[in-house]
Amino acid sequence: MWHIVWYTLLGLLLAGYLALDGITLGTGIVGRALARDEAERRTVAAATGPFFLGNEVWLIAAGGIVLGGFPGLESSVISGLYPLVVLAVGALLVREAATQFRRRVPGARWRGFWDGLVLLTCLLLALTWGALGGALLGTLPLRGGHLDIDPSLLLRPVPVLSALTAVAVFALHATVFLAVRAAGPLAERAVSAAGRLAPAAAGLAVLTAAAAVADGNARDGLLSPLPAALLLLAAVAALLLAPRLAAHGRRGLAPLASGFAALAPVLILGAAHYPQALVSGAGPHENLSVAEAAADPSTLGVVGPVVLFVLPVLLAFQAMQWWAFRGRTDDRSPAYF
């Protein structure tokens, strides 16, 4: 029973990561293009800055859940995707440093250099998460709980389209966020950018889904296609709706809609595979179920209550942060990062 609680927890943290750090990733990708001058660049930094640490930490917590609760996933997915994980971890390391360094020394050259690295690493991370999601959706070369992914698997249509979709969705999510968080002409520009990005993001998402149906390798991974399809439709609707909500001044609802689209892949993956965690191309007997991937019940049942007990406090801290910095920002708002 406890493995279901833990799997839900993992889903929650990964979903939270995509919806929240998606803002950071998207801002890294489109922020510099959207801002016209130094003051606007500063506004962008002030808009996302207070949440930077609180957003990325969801991934670290998800990693902790995998480490403590899913040794089966830890020893298959992370080592099986070695080059991809090294790329992602390297990008996270550089993004962390670049974000923290860029406003430490005044001057356009210094900031331009680190901004460039932020853009590069955010783009790499968005592509990586997209490709990873696309690859995990289908069947995997999984035998005896070990995964040995050939890099060419990541170059199949579904992971490639999924990677591009991720970039578009994060970019849209960021423009919607800036539309409701920034003040002045920047916000207006963000609204119109979101309006242009939404059809592209929705189109790519539909294209990815079509490729998943056409590609036998991916189709075999969809153990329950119906809930996955419904979730995808909801995500596409959210993508198209978000810019309109932002344009109508729905400051709370708009980023929730684009955030839902950003986190939907976690729900789709979970729904498409459950009760399996990973689907093997070598036949159903090689599938890795959630229960098999999970740690022993003796661990989950003892540590689980501790985690559940603390979770409301953690969410309260996050809520406190969003409440504290809910106002609109301009170039005079504090921009530490």
Binding site: L53, G64, G68, E74, P83, L93, V307, L314, F325, G327
Partner: protein
């Protein structure tokens, strides 16, 4: 030992050392920040606020790579040491899961609130946030060392079907090996933090940078505590050795009477092999202790010169106090090498050998690539980070960016010389903390946008809760 194992261990050593170098200072410095900011919260004295901001700035620059290298550490277990998670994940992973979720998740969220909360939160609430940041950071030490303590002295488990299973969570949480190491490390972090504050203060006092009051006040706080923490670290190290001599006798070689019997036991159960750690672990033990002797002697001597600020005129002594910053780092790194290399050839002492903890099927090319990627990136970023630390430390309190009011934060500002801005901040913050209940202030007021009056003392008093 084959190449893969050597490379994997080298990669782990490099990232772990890089991570800990930042963590030690984070832990020590955040504790000093708590003292400084609490003084400000209680007295409302602007000098304490300024002190908190200056040291807080250095704390944050250091923190940047603490997080970055921590991410590399976390994912490395899955990448390279999946044998460890496969066999012992049921126990080893549990405290790490608690650490990331219960401690680090809260710490990171609260840190964001602290960085951006200057002038937006009440003085007391803002100080409470820092307390929570410090407490969660300290609790991280305990949970991480609970995981590490299990590797050194496994308790509370049984082996079923070749996998370790948790039988006694309480035993895991009260492992004397972990508890004694936690205490030793906490004291050691305080030594690191103290020497950092002392070194930077001594530099400014020696160079007469015009901040005598500011840095004397910091020196007065850290210097008398330094020898106390050095002695405490040594005493707790002694306690730790008392436990580990019995728990990991081979770490001490022939110095432990039980080594021979333990090696015989290992040979019976795991076959013949070299069950004594490499010589470097012994060297590291010495390299940990020697700097501590210097640290103790130097700070005791310096404390004697504190009478009537005599120390400020002792240029050589001040120079030594700055140079001595390298000593705690030497001890920190050596201490970890002693603990971790001394455990070899075991990943989990007496349960799982390091060579069996590695991910099956890894090639040396793969590990070499990630070693070069991580090693290269970490090395470059560490250099930049330390250059920034040096820059902020040398420029003194006027160059602090943390908590600077927006009107002071001109893009072209470079370096010291912002005296006017500070005066404005001083006037504004005197009453900021207490101004009105602020309960009903809508969030929209955080967008000033209306009239920019850079000298208005009321502007920093905007509060959102």
């Amino acid at each position: 030992m084959d190449d893969v194992l050597v490379l994997a261990r080298l990669q782990f050593a490099i990232t772990a050392i890089a991570h800990y170098v930042f963590v030690a200072l984070t832990l020590g410095l955040v504790t000093y920040l708590v003292v400084m900011q609490t003084r400000w919260a209680v007295t409302g004295d602007e000098r304490h606020r300024r002190q908190t901001r200056f040291w807080g700035q250095l704390y944050l620059v250091n923190y940047a790579l603490g997080i970055g290298t921590g991410i590399v550490m976390e994912f490395q277990f899955g990448l390279v040491w999946s044998g460890l998670t496969h066999y012992t994940g049921n126990v080893f992973g549990a405290p790490l899961a608690i650490e990331t979720l219960v401690a680090f998740f809260a710490e990171s969220t609260l840190l964001g609130l602290w960085i951006f909360g200057w002038d937006r939160m009440g003085r007391v609430a803002h100080t409470v946030v820092l307390w929570l940041v410090a407490l969660t950071a300290w609790s991280s030490v305990y949970f991480v060392l609970t995981a590490n303590g299990f590797l050194n002295h496994p308790v509370g488990y049984e082996i079923v079907d070749g996998q370790v299973r948790l039988t006694d969570f309480t035993a895991l949480l009260t492992n004397t090996n972990a508890l004694s190491a936690t205490a030793h490390i906490m004291a050691g972090s305080m030594v690191t933090g103290s020497f950092f504050v002392i070194a930077v203060s001594a530099w400014h006092l020696r160079r007469r940078t015009g901040h005598e009051e500011f840095f004397w006040s910091s020196m007065k706080l850290a210097l008398p505590l330094a020898p106390v923490f050095v002695a405490l670290t040594a005493a707790l190290g002694g306690v730790q050795i008392g436990f580990s001599v019995e728990q990991t006798p081979t770490k001490y070689g022939e110095r432990s009477p039980e080594t021979a019997a333990v090696v015989r036991g290992f040979t019976e159960r795991f076959g013949p092999g070299d069950y004594l750690p490499p010589e470097i672990s012994r060297t590291a033990e010495v390299l940990m202790v020697i700097p501590a002797l210097f640290m103790g002697a130097l700070t005791v001597l310096a404390v004697l010169f504190m009478v009537k600020r005599n120390l400020i005129r002792r240029k050589v002594l001040l120079w030594l106090l700055t140079a001595a910053l390298v000593l705690p780092y030497l001890s920190n790194v050596s201490g970890w090498v002693f603990r971790e290399v001394g455990r070899q050839p075991w990943a989990v002492y007496g349960v799982l050998k390091t060579e069996d903890a590695i991910t099956p099927g890894l090639t040396s090319g793969t590990v070499l690539t990630s070693l070069l990627v991580f090693g290269g990136l970490v090395a470059l970023l560490v250099l930049v980070d330390w250059a920034l630390l040096l820059r902020f430390a040398r420029r003194g309190p006027d160059a602090t960016q943390l908590g600077r009011a927006p009107e002071e934060d001109g893009e072209d500002r470079d370096g010291p010389g912002g005296g006017a801005g500070r005066a404005g901040g001083a006037g504004g913050t005197g009453g900021a903390g207490e101004a009105g209940g602020g309960s009903g202030v809508p969030g929209q007021t955080t967008a000033p946008g209306v009239s920019s009056s850079p000298t208005s003392p009321s502007s920093p008093t905007i509060r959102t809760f």
